[in-house]
Amino acid sequence: MPAALKSTDVLQTAPFDPRFPNTNQTRYCYQSFLDFHRCQKVKGADYKPCDYFKKAYNSLCPNAWIERWNDQLEGGNFPGSV
């Protein structure tokens, strides 16, 4: 890896997750979204480590999906159990 990249911590993305070894990563995206909200529910809204999941789902999920899920969370009709 070029030195220029190592020096900056800008370039970082969700790592390979052995729970989702397949081409289909839909579940990785959804699970990260769910994990973030579960984490916040348990630990409170300003618990820093929860941001790991937020970074993961932001990297993986299409923005349109995230928007739709956030709308559903607000509207109280999100299908997952947070």
Binding site: M1, P2, A4, L5, T8, V10, L11, Q12, T13, A14, P15, F16, P21, T23, N24, Q25, T26, Y28, C29, K55, N58, S59, L60, C61, P62, N63, A64
Partner: protein, 229 residues
């Protein structure tokens, strides 16, 4: 313009595509040898004058010509399987780029850093510049760092599309409601072209993909510039 080069595979720009080209040539060489051998045997059988009315079987030759093709198949199957599993390997990615197929354009999202997205439309014939490739160039290219592991997340918003760059050995369906992942590594800079490869409606032919591969340091600069827009 169609040149003789278009009957071959494109020049590879990634290690995996290089391996695929080698495998293609290897398989083609075996095909060629079989064709020559069978052609020669058929030719000689047509034209030779030897005949023996009471010939019913020949165990030895039958064993040989049953085993030999099996051995030949192993020589094709083993490298093929090796490549199949190599292509599935997900290495630790450095950047994740999302692409969403629409009727009829691709949109891209870079969300590892800040979060920005753009649409990528084909440049129509009427607005083409002399250096553009007809039906291949787009207004906003996908910028990608070379020598880095890239992860593409591919999905679609309406119907099935397929995100394709032959030079990287990438072809993956963009299916609505499903996120597909593919990873690749580009080993040089340049412009790489591909076209939507799943028939998706009237303008299926007019939603090309243009990847611009640049050095990682320029990529970080580009990222920060895009974030400031």
């Amino acid at each position: 313009m169609a040149t003789w080069n278009t009957i071959l595979l494109q020049d590879s720009a990634s290690p995996l595509m290089e391996q695929l080209s080698f495998f293609h040539n290897h398989a083609l060489l075996i095909l060629f040898m079989i064709t020559v051998l069978v052609g020669y045997l058929m030719g000689t059988l047509f034209f030779n004058q030897f005949n023996y009315r009471f010939l019913l079987d020949g165990q030895t030759i039958e064993i040989i010509w049953t085993i030999l093709p099996a051995v030949t198949l192993i020589f094709i199957a083993l490298p093929s399987l090796r490549l199949l599993y190599l292509l599935d390997e997900v290495n630790n990615p450095l950047v994740t780029i999302k692409t969403i197929g629409h009727q009829w354009y691709w949109s891209y999202e870079y969300s590892d850093f800040m979060n920005f997205e753009f649409d990528s439309y084909m440049i129509p014939l009427t607005e083409m510049k002399p250096q553009n490739f007809r039906l291949l160039d787009v207004d906003n290219r996908v910028i990608v760092p070379f020598n880095s592991q890239i992860r593409m997340m591919v999905t679609a918003a309406d119907v099935i599309h397929s995100w394709t760059i032959p030079a990287f050995s990438v072809k993956i369906d963009a299916t609505p409601g499903r996120l597909n992942q593919i990873s690749f590594l580009i080993n040089r800079t340049g412009l790489f072209y591909g076209q939507c490869s799943e028939i998706c409606g009237a303008n299926h032919s007019f939603m090309p993909i243009t990847v611009e591969s640049i050095s990682p340091s320029f990529f970080t600069k580009w990222i920060s510039k895009m974030n400031n827009l």
